[in-house]
Amino acid sequence: MKIIYILSIVPFIGILGFLPLVNRVEPFVLGMPFNIFWMAMWTVLTSVILGIMYKLDPRNQEGDE
């Protein structure tokens, strides 16, 4: 259960915590300024993290509650 709690905080740190460091235009990645790319990447990673949380969470193994 513990690891799921930690996973919940990761997207917040990844996006908001790193923001002062990634607020820059260059280098361009996938055609986007670096800050926009960074946020788009973390949006995808947030989905991945929520997917891992879902798999690890024992409540989802049971039927509909």
Binding site: G31, T43, S47
Partner: protein, 490 residues
């Protein structure tokens, strides 16, 4: 010219109303069916319903408008929505479970039941109704912009707004939440296709690709593509996102769609795919960015026209009709849900506590008759307000966020916060928001000696802090007072 654009928009309009009527065929429309769909919706419908509320005309027009007018700070929209889904994983199943066990129908019911106070419920309901009116205004404004632009000026804004409000009212009164859910299906398909296409095509067509477009903007307006040193700075971005995440699930219409689910697992499952879905907003921003150098000169509230103006410059009328049709549905779905939630709150949680003898049937009837009333009030503010869509939405959010402390404490196992604390906290929070909004204060104007980063913090934080403090202090004082009173009585 009565053009093909208007004709196509009209077709979508009729389709939406047809779906609304079909969706309720053979259902006995009591209050529970009308407002929470009989609590039988599966993952797919709940997903679409919630997406329907989140991706409104604001995402379409306001999102591109911000990218056009302010640049990189527009990304806050993408980020707060994505991060909210992390919160939804934990929060929504708990709310759903409690609502199901206690047979709740509105957001206000939740507070009434948790704090055993119908009058706290009245307060929560009023806050909800006051906060959703700006959001309805946004939908009507959006509708007005879409129809008047797509008619190439033949239909004026005020007429378009009246037409929108009238059809929205009829639509809601007939169909209830089932109509919204089924219309949401078409709305989302249309929206993804149109936005995806525009976001890819416009940068390619005008600049030869994404990177050339961003490089051209970067050269023409250096600094526009990153958060500025002050104003909409990094600290503004972080504090705004956090406040919006906290406020995200405090909306009354969101509670209603949470209640429609048939199990709590639905939300944990939907949380996985939802952030990916927000990537659609990236394409909205691309459209706004593409418009910067191609349709320059839009300022103030007019930035919301950016998406339609660049489309009109680029495409044939029939395609403008498709964009307009998609835009119409993105106003109709959330608009209908907002009207319904507002009307249900007023009837069930404001009227009922004062008239306990009212039957469920008469409450249901009253709720339906309140729909046109709320619609009229919204039309008034739509025709008499000049703010941009983003400003209006942010104001509604700062009001709704004031319910967060009371909600949070209600989940604690031994909740020391009582109805007095919760009520006082919400009232003080709202009063602070009102003061800040009317006096146009920022943290910079309130506390001039602070460093720039602190000055740029979202001023809503102050209202939330005051709210937390008052909630805790009043609860403790009342508790102390009542225990000593009980002791004395013994």
């Amino acid at each position: 010219m009565m053009n093909s654009a208007l004709l196509i928009i009209l077709v979508f309009w009729i389709l939406a109303i047809f779906l609304g009527i079909m969706s309720v065929k053979g259902k006995d429309m009591n209050l529970e069916q009308w407002t929470v769909g009989g609590r039988g919706f599966g993952s797919m419908l709940v997903f679409l319903l919630m997406a329907g509320e989140i991706y409104t005309t604001f995402s379409f027009l306001g999102g591109s408008g911000w990218a056009y007018g302010k640049g990189a700070p527009a990304l806050y929209v993408l980020i707060y929505i994505s991060l909210s889904y992390v919160l939804s994983y934990w929060l929504l199943p708990v709310i759903w479970k409690y609502a199901k066990e206690n047979n709740l129908m509105s957001q206000s019911d939740f507070f009434v039941s948790k704090y055993k106070s119908p009058y706290l419920g009245v307060l929560v309901a009023l806050v909800g109704v006051i906060a959703i009116i700006p959001v309805i205004v946004v939908q009507l404004k959006g509708l007005g912009i879409i129809v008047s632009e797509a008619s190439y000026g033949v239909i004026s804004m005020p007429i378009a707004i009246w037409m929108g409000a009238i059809s929205l009212t009829i639509y809601v009164m007939i169909s209830g939440i089932r109509g919204s859910a089924w219309t949401a299906v078409i709305k989302d398909i249309m929206m993804v296709v149109v936005i995806g296409f525009l976001g890819i095509y416009l940068p390619l067509h005008y600049y030869g690709g994404l990177q050339p477009m961003f490089e051209a903007i970067h050269t023409a307006k250096p600094g526009f593509l990153k958060l500025p040193e002050q104003g909409l700075s990094v600290s503004w971005f972080i504090s705004t996102v956090i406040l919006l995440v906290l406020g995200f699930y405090m909306w009354p219409q969101v509670f209603s769609s949470v209640y429609t689910a048939k199990s709590g697992k639905v939300f944990r499952r939907n949380a996985i795919i939802s952030p990916l879905y927000t990537l659609m907003l990236l394409f909205v921003f691309f459209v706004g960015f593409a418009a910067i150098l191609k349709v320059p000169g839009l300022e103030g509230g007019d930035v919301d026209l950016a998406l339609l103006r660049i489309s009109i410059e680029t495409f044939n009328p029939w395609f403008i009709g498709l964009i307009g049709g998609a835009g119409l549905l993105t106003a109709l779905v959330p608009g209908s849900m907002l009207l319904m939630s507002g009307a249900t709150l007023l009837a069930k949680n404001v009227y009922k506590p004062f008239v306990p003898s009212a039957t469920e049937h008469s409450i249901g009837q009253l709720a339906k008759y309140l729909v046109p009333v709320i619609a009229l009030i919204s039309v008034y503010f739509t025709l008499n307000g000049g703010d941009t869509l983003a400003t209006l939405i942010l104001m509604g959010y700062s009001l709704m966020t004031q319910l967060f402390p009371a909600l949070l404490f209600s989940f604690m196992r031994n909740n020391f916060v009582n109805k007095y604390g919760a009520t006082a906290g919400i009232i003080c929070g709202i009063a602070t928001v009102a003061y800040i909004t009317i006096s146009e204060s920022t943290i910079g104007t309130l506390f001039p000696p602070l460093p720039q980063a602190a000055k740029d913090l979202n001023v809503g934080i102050i209202a939330l802090l005051i709210n937390f403090l008052v909630t805790i202090i009043v609860s403790l004082i009342v508790r102390k007072f009542t225990t000593s009173y009980k002791l004395a009585a013994k």
